[in-house]
Symmetry: C2
Amino acid sequence: MSENEQKEQPRRRQARGERRIAQLLEAAANVFCTTGYTAASTNAIAREAGVSPGTLYQFFPNKEAIAIELGERLMHEMRETYGEALAPVDPATPLEEAVGAAVDRFIAFNCDHPVFFALMHGPDLPGRITEEHDALHATLLARVEDLLGSLLPDASPADLTRTAQVCLSVHKAGLELVLAHEGAERDAYVRELKDVLIRYLEPLVGDRLGRPAAVTTTRSA
Amino acid sequence: MSENEQKEQPRRRQARGERRIAQLLEAAANVFCTTGYTAASTNAIAREAGVSPGTLYQFFPNKEAIAIELGERLMHEMRETYGEALAPVDPATPLEEAVGAAVDRFIAFNCDHPVFFALMHGPDLPGRITEEHDALHATLLARVEDLLGSLLPDASPADLTRTAQVCLSVHKAGLELVLAHEGAERDAYVRELKDVLIRYLEPLVGDRLGRPAAVTTTRSA
DNA sequence: GACAAACACGAGCGGTCGCTCGCATTCTGG
DNA sequence: CCAGAATGCGAGCGACCGCTCGTGTTTGTC
């Protein structure tokens, strides 16, 4: 085990190969979307892409690598398109606006790439994808915690984490509802999701005028 | 195909058989809980129960039947234990109390039977279990709609349905969070879940004194 | 045009899974 | 006590899945 570096020596790809890869990833997205990761068979992905199983394995070492590459491309696109959606929020923006904007961006991305939800929240994913999801979750959690922390300087870290977790979970639930509907109904669910979050957070932050955030229930019992 | 009634002619079961069935169902619950339905192998269930695969198939015609029987027993127990948790609510009870009681009961049941969540919300379930879930969901939806309808006589049916859907989705998300924690942290998440629901609903129902339910956002755009 | 590398194919290998079947053992009614 | 039903076993069948491999085709380079 001295220097058998089998480091990925990126094979010389022809344009044809890159096209095939994109084609295969798109096919994989479709199949993952409709059947989930585990139930999706590599043969089915190859068939969907109109190629043979052998061709698929010309470009991906195994099934997991397909999901990983897909996940990484989605992550990259998300950071590129909406990367600054998670940027520190100007504390001057009203809560409604901040929540509304964040929700809108995430909803839009997930509507454009429904496979993202399947890959991130699927139940039987390979370890590597779970890591990606956990990393994203941790990032979002930290962002929300920071935002909440700047609004609730007196809250304990544990309370902050919990509140942020609740926000993300509620968001995920709402996203699921939104994706399950279309057109006007979908828009209505987006409104509801925003309302849930805003009404949950509003009593905590008051209207940020120094009012001691009238909570009706005891925290950290 | 005139009268080949292969109707389940319930085989004469001995006490031993009933014991085996219970044993197998408990083993199945464990395996389903940890690996999910699809990934659970019948051989693994048999091994967990300490019997041979053949013995398992002495009592269940196939893998799906195990999940179905398990689901039906859970449903039955739920209706028996908490059946009246869904009973029409006395309109005099304050919202907080009604929500709190309903949440507490569902949380308690799901904590006692974690396999219930796995079977109801798993992603790759057989058709029959999906039917059970849908039936339960429809029942709960109707209950919540009724309750909301009595509090919001002016809301359109579509709005009622949507609001009820949001309540159930939020509840599911909260349940997931609660099940992921233990002890004091778990209790804290229960509190949060109740707060989310109460704060979401409170502006809609006002405090039921004829106040026109000051909503801050437009509904049915 | 020649040569190698990249690309494409699809039969099929090894493995797992749901499930079966023949046979042994235990229980139960008469 | 014994015939037959119920229970129990576990090797293994057929199907499918992830993946490989030998072979043939296309593409880039000189």
